[in-house]
Symmetry: C2
Subunit: 305 residues, 2 copies
């Protein structure tokens, strides 16, 4: 799957991923109204609005981008109906040829991580049959529990040719509270980065590893160091756009071959119609606004090469 | 909810929580067969087997214990049907008067953590209505992203009178890889413990805080230090029994009042019928085996006071 990701990035000339993190506030009133008319102001109604919103955006942008990254929390908040919308979104994106990065940030003790890995990237056995629960292509993983919380994901990646992105340095303001703490003079995130490199060496695609990492766009100096520590890890970069990261900030995340990083934007794309810059589209043409925002983002990021 | 937890622990004289982490391998063949006869060897069939298994165990032990801790990964691996079984389990346990600790180990950037908090402990707004997605009483939270990943959970706890247990020192073998790293001479888990204490001070029940923590039974010397660092935090202690922790190991986790900790056992209780010690019960009386194992565990833990 890492080979497919690299290939799609090159083919589409777009090291970009669209974060499908729908909040009801981003969804135009007409879509919400139609969903509530059918299902009432219920969790099912909210889930239907989310699904229709996602579908329209995916239809408008799938030819431009290699991958999407649905944030499962935004679906999980609507309980079971929300998770059904998550599953429909994953399946639909895969049908459209998109690579799906499940932003699930799971991580637990070994046997429990194995269950998460089976549910999101692999298969679970029921009697004589086996099934994929959610079937994303990649998943994000939290490293706080150490190797035996991460390795079950790697085992499934090897078997299923899928991949993970391990949280190394996150984009949020308080990420430094623990991640930047100095251990023998070097921050914790570097130590995690070293482990990502080590975990990934046994699990290589053609040029990059099935084990990637997450490093926020909001910390470019750290990105530069981490790029060197993990030369074979693809970096998933959140924090571009709405969270404050600029294209210029992104340079250090890429290798000299122009590869090695994929930049996420969520709000900046899916809620583009609410942005003054794309106000001409209005709520009725929200998906066209998203398409324009994707084109602008791709051009912006490619300007650094 | 922390007051209710303390009250129930005192009333039942049982600082014990049963981990409802069903694997199909723990479920007697007859239950699996009946579920597969109705739903086939499908995810729905697996979920039905899980639900029937859980229900029988809850019916057999609810009067003995204050709380249960379903591990969501064990349900999530079966996709949507599995999560429906999770929800049924949560709802059923609450109906039985049990406190439900959702072992979800979520944690993300602020807005995303807010969605998880709403979905598991709070309510989500849909139009003019609001709904609880999963409605646990407590949730476990991963601290790797720092304060702004944890605070949205605390905000919901304050509003809903619910609680969290933040991972400080986990019970698994590789937990030390990052958690034990020394920062200015003190391990990272102590720093996380200090933050738990700080977060919890603003969010107090009568004697204990709504913000508790997770410290594995497998590291008693660390438990002793952490107990002092976080005097007002309830400690959720995994790792007793199957993972190797003994009753004697648990002493340091309690305060002098005999409170301050609640000990989890999962496999040791729900798969008791597979243990040689309870073999007399056999698969047909698996729930009775679980009841006996709970009684033995309570006696074992109370022996340290």
């Amino acid at each position: 799957m890492i080979n497919k990701l690299v290939e799609q990035i090159q083919k589409k000339k777009a090291p970009v991923v669209v974060g499908l993190d729908p909040m009801l506030a981003y969804i135009p009133e007409e879509i919400q109204k139609a969903a509530f008319a059918e299902y009432g102001e219920t969790l099912e109604g909210a889930a239907e609005a989310v699904w229709q919103f996602n579908k329209a955006i995916v239809d408008a942008v799938y030819d431009l981008i290699p991958a999407v990254k649905p944030q499962i929390a935004m679906y999980e908040q609507f309980g079971i109906p929300g998770l059904v919308a998550f599953q429909r979104t994953v399946d639909y994106c895969r049908e459209k040829g998109l690579i799906v990065i499940g932003d699930i940030k799971r991580g637990d003790i070994g046997s429990t991580s194995a269950a998460y890995a089976a549910g999101h990237l692999g298969k679970v056995t029921v009697g004589s049959k086996s099934y994929a629960g959610f079937n994303e292509d990649f998943a994000t993983v939290n490293p706080y529990l150490g190797s035996d919380g991460v390795k079950p994901f790697i085992d499934v990646c090897r078997e299923e040719k899928k991949g993970i992105f391990v949280l190394v340095k996150t984009s949020n303001p308080s990420s430094g509270e623990f991640q930047d703490q100095k251990i023998d003079g070097r921050p914790l995130y570097e130590l995690v980065g070293q482990q990502v490199d080590k975990w990934g060496r046994d699990c290589m695609g053609d040029d990059y590893s099935y084990v990637g990492c997450v490093v926020g766009a909001t910390y470019p100096e750290m990105g530069k160091i981490l790029r060197k520590i993990m030369p074979k890890a693809y970096i998933l970069v959140p924090g571009y756009g709405a969270q404050g990261g600029t294209a210029e900030d992104l340079k250090p995340y890429f290798n000299e071959d122009g590869l090695g990083a994929i930049v996420n934007s969520s709000r900046g794309i899916i809620a583009a119609w609410k942005n003054e810059k794309y106000a001409e589209f209005g709520g009725a043409r929200f998906a066209d606004a998203s398409r324009k925002a994707v084109c602008d983002m791709i051009a912006d990021i490619n300007s650094i090469f």
